[in-house]
């Protein structure tokens, strides 16, 4: 599975998803006035300690921030140029802490549990005739489409490489889009043939 979720049975896994989300939201508001170096450092230590309670495997998950590091580096450098190194350290520490804390939820909460937790948010959509069931189907479709699209792109790339010896080009984008759009038409037809997004309505029997 490509999700960030880490299977486990820790205290954090047992906590209801809704509690974790509300905790994150409240904490993110509470820390705003505390703009000091010590507080930011303590917050980061606290969050990393949370990861540590999940054991060695959990601590390794701290690596998820790696794609963000160049961004953090730039933010820090801008502050250095402005002559305020302390503010730079604070900004980077806070960002790291909040991103890690939020990801802690993603790591310890199964996707389905998260979906259940936010499902009430979709209830107002019923007014527009969109059932939560359609949202679930859309989610499942995206997860299935992404690897398929990557495979379509890879096959176009392979053919292009055989013709031109170049691995990649912007010229592949338009054929990629055409291929992919035709594919969605087939999926839509198949879905309709099987009773549509809402399925055959059982309630009407």
């Amino acid at each position: 599975m490509i999700s960030l979720y880490m299977a486990g049975n820790s205290w954090a896994h047992k906590l209801p998803a809704r509690v974790k989300l509300i905790f994150l939201f409240v904490l993110s508001l509470l820390i705003i006035p505390f703009n000091t170096l010590w507080f930011s450092a303590a917050l980061l230590v606290f969050v990393v300690a949370l990861y540590a309670t999940l054991g060695r495997q959990g601590l390794e998950k701290v690596k998820v921030v790696r794609p963000l590091l160049w961004m953090m580096g730039i933010i820090f450098l801008v502050h250095v140029f402005l002559g305020d190194i302390e503010q730079g350290i604070i900004a980077v520490l806070r960002l790291l802490a909040m991103v890690l804390l939020a990801n802690f939820i993603s790591i310890t909460t199964h996707m389905e549990a998260l979906m259940d937790a936010v499902e009430p948010l979709f209830r107002p959509l019923r007014v527009f005739g969109i059932s939560p069931r359609r949202v679930s189907l859309a989610v499942a479709l995206v997860i299935r489409f992404v690897p398929v699209l990557l495979a379509v792109y890879a096959s176009l790339q392979e053919a292009y490489k055989a013709r031109t010896a170049h691995a990649n080009s912007w010229r592949l984008l338009a054929p990629f889009a055409l291929h992919a759009i035709k594919m969605t038409d087939h999926v839509a037809e198949a879905l309709t043939a099987r009773g549509g997004a809402d399925g055959f309505d059982r309630d009407k029997k």
Binding site: M71, V78, H79, L141, A197
Partner: protein, 186 residues
């Protein structure tokens, strides 16, 4: 237009935005060493092809999946964390941007496709995205607006302009080869 088809199309464009963020960088000589991804290209295409409502929904669906923990943003980022990071404003910009792109494309449906794509791409795909992204970056990183523009906007403009051009090429190809897929113009 059946609702099944709309649903599949929304899901499909959400997946396309994700896939464009995951494909290795597309070779763009002009962009130099700047790390550009094709992700915002997908956002523009969603608006251009689907129109404001479905285009916006496609981006919203993608962001929802990201929040659920799927690593669908450029560089394999994902999880609720990205909404607390310095680039969160750009994500909101993607959503509003797709709607604006779709709305402009729809308003210009009787004009030349390439022209419509360039106008909607520049306004919705660049101006709107940066207008929402830069202030959040400035706030989160404790920078002044001027500095945030220097760091978070100017370096990406050349790449973004190239992406508008690419989106226009794709829109042109699809308008000719598969006009029924240009829902914003039907």
């Amino acid at each position: 237009m059946s609702s099944d088809r709309s649903l599949v199309q929304i899901a499909f464009y959400a997946a396309l935005i994700a896939a464009l963020g995951l494909v290795p960088k597309i070779e763009l000589g002009l962009a130099g060493g700047i790390p550009i991804t094709a992700q915002s290209l997908g956002v523009m295409l969603a608006g251009m092809m689907l129109g404001p409502v479905r285009g916006g929904l496609a981006v919203a669906l993608l962001l929802f999946l990201v929040a659920l923990g799927l690593p669908f943003l450029a560089g394999g980022r994902g999880g609720i964390g990205v909404f607390y990071g310095a680039t969160a404003g750009y994500l909101a910009g993607y959503f509003v941007g797709a709607i604006v792109v779709g709305a402009i494309m729809k308003a210009m449906r009787n004009m030349n496709v390439v022209f419509g794509a360039v106008v909607s791409g520049v306004i919705g795909g660049i101006v709107v995205v940066h207008a929402l992204g830069v202030p959040v970056l400035a706030y989160k990183a404790g920078m002044t607006m001027e500095k945030a523009i220097m760091v978070g906007s100017l370096p990406f403009l050349p790449g973004d302009l190239i992406k508008v051009a690419l989106a226009a090429v794709v829109a042109h190809t699809i308008a000719r080869g598969l006009p029924s897929a240009m829902l914003s113009r039907n």
